[in-house]
Amino acid sequence: MNLRDLVILIADPSSYLSMLIHSMLRGFGSNKVLQVRNSMGVFHALTAQRIDLLICDALLPVHGGLQLTQAIRSKKGNEHRTIPILMMISDSRASTVKQARDAGANMVIAKPLSAASLYDRLTWIAFNPRKFVDTATYFGPDRRFKIEGYAGGVGRRKGDKVTEVAQKISPALAQDDIDSLFTAVRSGQD
């Protein structure tokens, strides 16, 4: 992943945590990183210059990261409407992740961060782009990450095809076969 010359905006109320994230991004090869402490700062930065990626805390004062994301996504004619947003959350409950997803965040990362987790999330955003969905109630990246069949076998979208998922009957391999595979590997055979 090449982050050189990309403008990344970190929006976190904590100066020290921002500094930590900034240092990680520097390590990844990024050379243009901006920091803001509140949502007003984000709006100022977005209007003042082009931002390529927003890394935003979910509890960002004054409005909160989720509301901020919704505001960015919902404003028609906004050139930053499709900007990739990586949301940092302090509690990784399913409900919080769902809220971030429904607000329009591209990806969620749980705090505390590690360099590896941050790198992987950024790689995911860069190399696995998702289509954007524009409806009356939602604007943002497609919230479906993977399709494992639909309720009743029929999807809700026009493009959804009928999926036929085979019934699970029994394990593909018998336990004896699995054991023999492991013993072969242990004894150094292929």
């Binding site: 992943m1 090449n2 982050l3 050189r4 010359d5 990309l6 109320p13 904590s14 100066s15 020290y16 945590l17 500094m19 930590l20 240092s23 990680m24 991004l25 520097r26 390590g27 990844f28 090869g29 082009r50 390529d52 990626l53 509890l59 499709t82 900007i83 990739p84 302090s90 509690d91 705090k111 505390p112 961060l113 590690s114 360099a115 590896a116 941050l118 790198y119 950024l122 790689t123 955003i125 860069a126 190399f127 782009p129 289509k131 954007f132 969905v133 524009d134 409806t135 009356a136 497609d142 979208r157 026009k158 493009g159």
Partner: protein, 214 residues
Amino acid sequence: MAKAAKPKAATKSKAKAAAKSKMAVKSDVRVFSVDTRFQKMARREGGIPRDKAIEQAQNEIREVKSHFDSWFAGELKVFVRLIKKVEGAKAGKDWIKTANFHSHQLRDSATTLGFELLAFIAGSLCRILDSRPTMCLRGNTGAPAFAANQRHPLLSGRLPLSARRVISRVPPCLCNDRLIRRFGFARSNIVTDARGRTGPRTRNESNCTNNPDQ
């Protein structure tokens, strides 16, 4: 018959209208591909491989570590000031929000920097503060006073008996005189229930057999 036919017709027309509106909503849905500048640029050649990038990031973090002491001292000062305010009943209503914010900051930065003990302590504090309003433990920060100030119904002994399964006595370090005075009980008479809530021991609980302290 005519009377019965009317509502049927009405429901049919309603269903038709609903289907039409659904169709309209469906036709409004737009799905499109976006290739943002971030995605284009990040996929360029000449990037840093993952392992090297992470190693470099960790080196950068090590450099930032040197600023940690001064920042940590500032955070502790904030905590001490907040505790004093709360104990003196001068804190605003959002003191718990402030405490939560700072404890999360401590936990997040300590974990990222690899300060395990601090991360553990700050993480425990986060859990305690997150579990409020049932919170009435203080750890080492004087929180029983906070709890007593909160006047939570759980603390006033109004908990239903069914929910008050006694597990153990509250450890002495988690009680303070103010809490005891408030309930007018000896320290050993304050108990925690299955959910970790604290309150005065009731008569039934005195005979409870699942209390390891009895």
